[in-house]
Amino acid sequence: MIKNPTTPSDTITITLDGQPITAKKGEILLDVARRNGAFIPTLCHLDGLTPYGACRLCTVKVKHGSWSKFVTSCNYPIWDGLEVETATDEVNQNRKLVIEALLSRAPKAPVLQNLAKTYGVTTTRFPNLDPAEKCILCGLCVRVCDDVVGAHAIGFVGRGQDRRVGIHINDAACIGCGACSYVCPTDAIDMESVTVGHFRDRWGEDRPCRYSLMGLLPGSVCHNNYECWRCETDQTIMDLCQPVHPVFVARGIDNAGVRSVIRKMSVMIPPDHEDCDDGSTDEATAGQQSPPSDT
C-alpha cells in the first residue's frame, strides 16, 4: 500500500521506533533507518545491487493508523506519516525464524552464527537437506554477476526446495573476476580451488589475465597459471581497489580514480600490447564478456 504524498514538498516525516525523522519521499526504508541509527540486519542486500527481498531478515513492521503490515525494508519506498518498528519482539521473532531456517542450510557460516548469538537462536528445527551445502540462496552472486559484472555466468536453477545457484553451468561466460565469491556472505563459492580450475580448463594455454577480462588492464596474459591468490599483480590491484572488489572499480561503480592507476601498471603489459588504449582493450575483451548492464 503506497500512499500518495500529502505534502507538496519532497521532504516528509516518518516515525522510526517512536522518533520522528525527516527524509525524502520514496527513499528506501532501510537506507533511511540505517542513516538514523537503527540496527537492521540483512543477508541478501548490498548497496549498488537491485534489492531482492529474499532473505526477509530486514523485515520491519510499518503502520499507519489502524493499518499495519510486515514489509522488507530493503525495497520499501517510504511515504509521509509512515510509522516503523524495527526491533520489537514481533519483528525479532521473524528474524529468529529466518536465522533458524538458514542455519539448517549453512550451520557453520560465521555470519549466521553471529546472528544466532545476537538473536538468541540456539538450535534449528528445520531439516538439513544437504550437509555439504553452504549456500543460503541470497542471490548476491547472481545479481553481482548480472548487474555489475554483466557476464551473466551465474543463475538460479530449478525451483522451490530444489533451487540452487548454478555456478559452473555457463563457464564460457565467466570472466573469473571472483566478484561472486567476494559478495558471498557464507563463503559458499570456492574461487581458489574450484572456480579458477574451471577457468583454467576453459582457456588452456591461451590464458588472459582476469583483470584484462574485467577491462582493468589492457589485454594481457596470465604468467602465474591462474594462481591469483599468490600473484603479485593480483595483490597489488586488490590493495589499490580497497575497500571494494576490483570489478566494482572496473565497472566504474566505486573508486573510479583507481582505474587509471591500474591501467598504467606497466609490469602487466606484454610487449605486443604495449600501446593498447581504451578502445583496443574493449576490442580484446569483446566476445569474451557481455557489456555491463546499465544499472
Binding site: 526477509r56 525464524l97 529466518v98 522451490g160
Partner: protein, 637 residues
C-alpha cells in the same frame, strides 16, 4: 478451423456493419433443431468426439444433415455426466415424454455412439424422448428431461456461463448472433474511458482470480499511471488443483473474454494485450488463438476498431507449468522470458508492471463479466450478491459430492445450498468439511456451511474465495492428509526465492509426513502453528502468505484428528496408509476370487470358492482388492 460462413468475414468498419452482420446471422435458417454437443475437455475425455462423428454420419445416412444443426459447444459444466448432448427444439418441434408432456429442451447424459441413431430418430422423426437414457437425479431417482430442470442446473444462476453450452466457440458468428461485441460497440460508439471505469467501479466487481481486488479501482490506477505504453493482460494460468472454470470459459466462450479485454484496454488506454494460458490447457490455447484470428479478421482487434480511434492487439502466450505464475508479478516475469519469480509489489503493477510499464492483469472470469456489466448496466450487476461481493461466481464443485462439475451461483448463496441443492449432498450422508480457495485456502467445517459465499466472509473463517475451487469432504477424508497434500503441492510449486515460503513449507511437510506415519509429537502442532504464522506474515508473495492456510485451518477445526494420529497412531478417516489395515469380512465374501487376482503382491491367497486370507506383512495397502470387491467383503480400518 474456419467459421461456417467465410463470406461474412469482412472487416467491420463501424458499428452499423456489426449490426448488419448480426442481423444477417439471425435469419430463418437458424430455426432448425439444434444438437448442442459438449466438446469441452471433460467430455472429450469421456469420448464425445466419437459421438460427434456418429451424429455426422447418422444424420447424413438419414438425409438430415441440412435439417439439423449440430453445434460443438464448450463445457456445460456437468462433466461427470459426459458426453453430454442437449437437443434444443423450436415450439413446433417439441417432443413428448412418457407422460405426454411436451419439451423443447432434452438433456441426455453419458451418450455413446451406439445411442446416437436412436436419439435422432426419436427426437427428430418420432418426436418423443428416450426415457431410459434421460438423466436420473440421485436423490429421488426420478428422470428429468430438460437441462434447466436438473437440480444441478436449476439452482444455478448462469450469467458468465450462459452462452457456454449454446455457441460454437470456434465460430465468432455464433457469439455475434447472440449479441456478442454489442457491449464493445456501445463503449466505442457512445462512451468515454472514464465512464466505462465508473460503471465497472459502481458495479462492485471484484477480481475473480483470488485476491478480490475491486476491478474498477485497479483500472483507474492503471489509467492514471504515467506512461504511454500500457499493457492489459488476462490471467488464464489457472493452477489451483481442483478448479477449472477459467479453462471452461476460455474454451467455451473465448470471445466474451476478448470483448472484456478490448473494453478494458479502451478504458485504460492500452494497445497491447496478452492472454497467458496454462500449459496444461491445450484446447483453451487453441480456442483462444482461433478466436483472436477471427476477431482480427473482422477488425474487432487491430487498428481503429469499429472505426473508432482505439487500437488494440492481443497475443496468446502459454505458461511453462508453474503454479506461482498465477501471481501477477511472477506472470509478468514469465511473459518477459524469465523465471516465474514474484517480486515485491510495494509499487503496484498498475504503475510498474510488464517491462516496467503500467499494466493491468485480470482473471478470465473477471474479463468475461465486463460485457455483461456494460450490456445489462451496473445496477443489475450490483443487485446480485452481498454487500461486499457482487454478481455471480463460478465454482468447481468436486470431491465427495454426488453431482460434480462447474456451478455458477449468485454471491451470497450459502455453502450448504451449493453442496446439498446443487451437488446433491454426499453419498455417505454427511459433509465433514468444504475446502475453498484452492491449495492456499482453508477447510471450513460442516457447522459453518450456512455462511454466505462472500469474499470477506470466507477470509474471516480462515479460508478464501481463491479462484473458486470447492472441494467437498466427508468422513472418509483425512484432514491431516488433506493438509499434507496441499503442503506437498505448494512445496513443489514454491519458487524458492524467499526464506519463509521455501523453508517453512519444507519443515511443515516434514512434520506432516511424520504425523501421517504415526510418528508425530504433540509439540509438532505448536511448531506448525508458529511456522504457519511466520509464513503468513512475512512471505514475499501471496503464495507464501496463504500457503499455511490449509494447515492452520485444519489445526483450528480438526485438531482432534491430528491428535488421533499422534497419540493413538490412528487415522480416523482410514486414509493414511501407514496407519490402516485391510481385512476380509468372511460373511460377505462369496469366494469369487477377484481380489486374489488383482492383488499386485499376492498378499491375498485363497482357492476359488474360499474366503481368501490376507497377509498383512506382504500387503502394501494399495486398495486394489477393496476397489475390485463387489460384495463389501474387504474393509479398511
Amino acid at each position: 478451423m474456419e467459421p461456417r460462413n467465410e463470406a461474412t468475414m469482412q472487416v467491420l468498419t463501424n458499428v452499423a456493419d456489426l449490426d448488419a452482420l448480426r442481423a444477417s446471422l439471425t435469419g430463418p435458417q437458424d430455426d432448425r433443431p439444434v444438437v448442442a454437443l459438449c466438446a469441452g475437455t471433460g467430455c472429450r475425455a469421456s469420448g464425445c468426439m466419437k459421438v460427434a462423428e456418429q451424429f455426422e454420419k447418422d444424420l447424413d445416412d438419414m438425409g438430415l444433415t441440412d435439417k439439423v444443426r449440430v453445434v460443438h459447444t464448450g463445457c456445460h459444466g456437468f462433466c461427470e455426466q459426459g458426453p453430454l448432448v442437449v437437443f434444443r427444439l423450436g415450439k413446433d418441434q417439441a417432443v413428448a415424454d412418457a407422460d405426454g408432456n411436451e419439451h423443447t429442451n432434452v438433456f441426455y447424459p453419458h451418450v455413446k455412439p451406439t445411442r446416437v441413431r436412436k436419439l435422432i430418430e426419436a427426437t427428430i422423426e418420432q418426436r418423443h424422448t428416450v426415457d431410459q437414457w434421460l438423466y436420473r437425479e440421485p436423490k429421488h431417482n426420478e428422470s428429468v428431461v430438460a437441462e434447466q430442470d436438473i437440480p444441478f442446473y436449476k439452482h444455478q444462476h448462469r450469467l458468465v456461463f450462459d452462452l457456454n453450452g449454446q455457441i460454437d466457440p470456434t465460430d465468432i458468428h455464433d457469439y455475434i448472433a447472440k449479441g456478442g461485441y454489442q457491449a464493445l460497440a456501445k463503449v466505442l460508439g457512445e462512451q468515454d474511458p472514464e465512464g466505462v471505469i465508473d460503471q465497472v467501479t459502481k458495479s462492485g466487481l471484484r477480481g475473480r482470480g483470488g485476491g478480490g481486488f475491486p476491478t474498477g479501482k485497479k483500472w483507474a490506477e492503471c489509467r492514471s499511471a504515467p506512461g504511454s505504453l500500457k499493457y492489459v493482460m488476462c490471467n488464464a494460468d489457472e493452477g489451483d488443483p481442483g478448479a477449472f472454470m477459467d479453462r471452461s470459459v476460455l474454451e467455451g466462450n473465448p470471445h466474451q473474454v476478448i470483448e472484456g479485454m478490448i473494453i478494458g484496454s479502451f478504458a485504460i488506454d492500452a494497445h497491447e494485450g496478452y492472454i497467458y494460458v496454462r500449459d496444461e490447457y491445450p484446447l483453451a490455447v487453441l480456442h483462444a488463438t482461433i478466436a483472436l484470428e477471427q476477431a482480427e479478421k473482422l477488425g474487432l482487434l487491430g487498428d481503429h476498431i469499429l472505426g473508432s480511434g482505439h487500437s488494440f492487439r492481443i497475443k496468446v502466450v502459454r505458461g511453462g507449468g508453474a503454479f506461482v505464475c498465477g501471481e501477477s508479478t511472477a506472470l509478468m516475469a514469465s511473459l518477459e522470458g524469465k523465471m516465474g519469480e514474484p517480486r515485491a509489489k510495494y509499487v503496484h503493477t498498475a504503475r510498474e508492471g510488464l517491462w516496467g510499464q503500467p499494466s493491468n492483469l485480470n482473471n478470465v472470469e473477471t474479463w468475461a463479466n465486463i460485457p455483461l456489466i456494460i450490456n445489462q448496466g451496473w445496477e443489475a450487476f450490483a443487485d446480485l450478491g452481498t454487500e461486499g461481493s457482487k454478481g455471480t461466481k463460478i465454482f468447481s464443485l468436486v470431491g465427495k459430492v454426488q453431482s460434480t462439475g462447474l456451478v455458477e451461483i449468485p454471491m451470497g448463496m450459502s455453502l450448504r445450498e451449493i453442496v446439498e441443492d446443487i451437488g446433491g449432498g454426499v453419498a455417505t450422508g454427511t459433509v465433514k468439511a468444504v475446502q475453498t480457495g484452492g491449495p492456499s485456502g482453508g477447510c471450513i467445517p460442516e457447522p459453518l456451511l450456512d455462511m454466505p459465499v462472500d469474499f470477506d466472509e470466507l477470509t474471516r473463517v480462515g479460508s478464501m474465495m481463491g479462484s473458486g475451487g470447492l472441494i467437498v469432504m466427508d468422513r472418509t477424508t483425512c484432514m491431516v492428509d488433506v493438509a499434507r497434500y496441499f503442503v506437498e503441492f505448494l512445496k513443489g510449486e514454491s519458487c524458492g526465492k524467499c526464506v519463509p515460503c521455501r523453508s517453512g513449507l519444507g519443515l511443515m511437510h516434514e512434520i506432516l509426513e511424520r504425523i501421517c506415519h504415526g510418528e508425530g509429537k504433540l509439540e509438532d502442532l505448536d511448531t506448525l502453528e508458529e511456522v504457519g504464522q511466520w509464513m503468513s506474515k512475512t512471505s514475499l508473495c501471496a503464495l507464501g502468505t496463504s500457503a499455511p492456510n490449509p494447515v492452520l485451518s485444519t489445526l483450528k477445526y480438526f485438531r482432534n484428528e491430528y491428535e488421533a494420529h499422534i497419540t493413538e497412531h490412528r487415522c480416523p478417516a482410514g486414509v493414511c496408509q501407514a496407519l490402516i489395515t485391510y481385512r476380509v469380512v468372511a460373511e460377505n465374501c462369496t469366494g469369487c476370487g477377484l481380489c486374489v487376482r488383482v492383488c499386485p503382491t499376492q498378499a491375498l491367497k485363497g482357492a476359488p470358492k474360499e474366503v481368501p486370507t490376507l497377509d498383512p506383512d506382504t500387503c502394501i495397502r494399495c486398495g486394489a482388492c477393496m476397489e475390485a470387491c463387489r460384495f463389501d467383503a474387504i474393509v479398511r480400518e
